[in-house]
């Protein structure tokens, strides 16, 4: 967050880069291919700025250092993915490729576990909510039906009495 304060100095260079980004994102729905992202990250360095006062989430997502999309490439071609990513600096501590892949696999497993937990939570929350809705609607239905029946009874009782009152009767009052 502190890095945002530096944006004043980088503003001129940033605006050009951001214009390119926003035009490319406007054209493409998905995340741009990773190699162009990585070169972008060197310039941006996790800073954010506003473009015309509006900074949408997908632009920010593009800027941020998210290793997630790269993880999918790991099994296919670990070394080229690493070298293209610019993650080399963090990897210098573990030069052994076997240890590397083990670490990566562990991280992958953890992420997958979290993702699975989120998926289960999502599913559970949805079914929970559906059950609540069903209960609520059944209750409402029950209540409304009872109200309807009551009203019908009242109406029927009323109908038997009132018409007689409303009708005009002609009675014979003449003496003949």
């Amino acid at each position: 967050m502190q890095s945002w304060k530096r944006k004043g100095r980088r503003k001129k260079k940033m605006e050009e880069v951001w214009k390119d980004m926003s035009s490319s994102i406007a054209l493409h729905q998905d995340i741009p291919p990773t190699p162009s992202f990585c070169s972008f990250q060197h310039n941006v360095n996790s800073t954010t700025t506003t473009l015309g006062g509006v900074l949408s989430q997908d632009l920010l997502a593009g800027v941020s250092m998210d290793p997630f999309p790269l993880a999918s490439l790991v099994a296919d071609d670990p070394f080229s993915a690493l070298s293209g990513a610019g993650f080399e600096s963090s990897r210098k501590q573990l030069p052994d490729p076997r240890v590397d892949s083990r670490e990566r696999r562990k991280k992958r497993m953890i992420k997958n576990r979290e993702s699975a937990a989120r998926s289960r939570a999502r599913k559970q929350a949805y079914t929970n909510e559906l059950e609540n809705e069903v209960d609520r609607l059944l209750n409402e239905n029950h209540m409304l039906k009872r109200q309807y029946e009551q009203l019908r009874l009242e109406m029927a009782a009323h109908n038997l009495i009132t018409p007689c009152k409303r009708k005009l009767y002609r009675t014979l009052t003449a003496p003949f």
Binding site: M1, Q29, D30, I31, T48, T50, V54, L55, S56, Q57, D58, L60, A61, G62, S64, D66, P67, F68, P69, A71, S72, V74, A75, R108, K111, E114, S115, R118, S119, A121, R122, Q124, A125, Y126, N128, E129, L130, E131, N132, E133, D135
Partner: protein, 177 residues
Amino acid sequence: MSRARDSLVVGRVIGDVLEPFVKRVSLRINYAGKEITNGREFKPSEVVNQPRVEVGGNDLRTFYTLVMVDPDAPSPSNPHLREYLQWLVVDIPGTTDATFGRELMCYEPPRPTMGIHRMVLVLFQQLGRETVYPPGWRQNFNTKDFAEIYNLGQPVAAVYFNCQRESGSGGRRMYPI
């Protein structure tokens, strides 16, 4: 009532965004007639325009604040922009809807690029009508802190829905690992 809170707990909205609270006011929100129930899925195309937000309560003189955030920005597995402020409306009179309030942060249609995001809408009851300053930026908003700063207390209602990118395949990647 307690089961509605369970959806918020199970979906980790209570935990990631809010503390446990008691629902006191009705909050009905729909996008073009499609009502938001916790955990329901909406596509970005369905949420491109701001929803209709009907606030309960029983008094026109009580004012409410509506906050809409995305706690899973930019990706649920790496939410370093949590929470991303999508919408902020204050001074909504009770029994009316959000159009009667004052928009401090205009509605930004959700456009998640990675993963399945939760979009949380929280309603607070205001003590009065004091000056509220919108944040300078949308990312890294904190609903709890915001409520504390402006003495909004505990939420009186909350609901959330799920949203993923238009061509999303339910959180699964296209290519096998």
